[in-house]
């Protein structure tokens, strides 16, 4: 099981704060995970990430889209940060 958290405008567009996805024995990259997650209109996050910059984290560290995830990981998906 992998927990996926959304923040800010992406959380609002997903209409939910998080998802949980099952992982099989296969090696799964973040790109694969994004292909499995869908917006309410059916569009995948993988498609959305081609049009808009998204930042990705695994276990609270920023990572790239080719990062390999494993069961128990917490993934964060969010728009570029705007604090300060």
């Amino acid at each position: 099981m992998i927990r996926v958290k959304y923040f800010a405008s992406l959380r609002e567009r997903m209409n939910r704060g998080e998802d949980q996805i099952e992982v099989s024995g296969d090696q799964l990259t973040l790109a694969d995970v994004l292909a499995r997650l869908t917006l309410p209109d059916g569009q995948t996050l993988q498609l959305l990430s081609l049009a808009e910059t998204m930042m990705l984290s695994v276990n609270h560290e920023m990572v790239d889209i080719d990062h390999v995830v494993k069961g128990g990981d917490e993934i964060g998906i969010f728009p570029p940060v705007t604090g300060g």
Binding site: K5, F7, A8, S9, E12, S57, H60, E61, M62, E74, G76, F78, P79, P80, V81, T82, G83, G84
Partner: protein, 156 residues
């Protein structure tokens, strides 16, 4: 190096932060601080409030990493980062970065460095609420990305 990070809803006192950094060591010769606050106009829009969201488990980890990098790069004696979350109004404080050093150039550079990286690396998001009732999530400025890129280029 003395370091403190706080993500909080309440306001902060700059005098208390300066004293905290000076308590640690009498070798402090100068403290540079940056206080960011809510403006009443942003990109031409009348702002009535800002809502600050963050990624609770991640934010402090990211801020600690930025302070570690600053400590390795500049001659620092201490640094404090305080960032507010929740609903804030024009004139209210959002963020404070303070850096203490024996000499002023290091204090200025480290404070500026931490603010620049906080802008592009720390997991905060601002939603602007306008006087006309509209709401929108702010976008990262290109100038902020450029500021971080400039520090990366200056590294060697």
């Amino acid at each position: 190096m003395y370091a403190r990070i706080s993500v909080q809803t309440g306001d902060f006192s700059l005098d208390a932060v300066i004293n905290e950094l000076k308590q640690e060591t009498k070798a402090v010769g100068g403290i540079c601080s940056f206080t960011g606050c809510v403006r009443d106009i942003n990109d031409g829009e009348d702002v009535s409030s800002l809502f600050l969201e963050h990624y609770p488990e991640m934010t402090e980890k990211q801020l600690a990493k930025i302070l570690d990098t600053a400590e390795a790069r500049f001659d620092l004696l201490g640094a404090i980062v305080i960032h507010r979350i929740g609903l804030l109004h024009p004139g209210e404080n959002i963020v404070l970065v303070a850096a203490a050093s024996a000499h002023r150039a290091a204090a200025f550079d480290a404070c500026h460095f931490v603010m620049d990286y906080l802008k592009t690396q720390a997991t905060f998001w601002k939603q602007e609420q306008r006087r006309d009732g509209g709401k929108s999530w702010l976008r990262m400025r290109e100038s902020d990305e450029q500021a971080t890129a400039d520090w990366e280029a200056k590294k060697d």
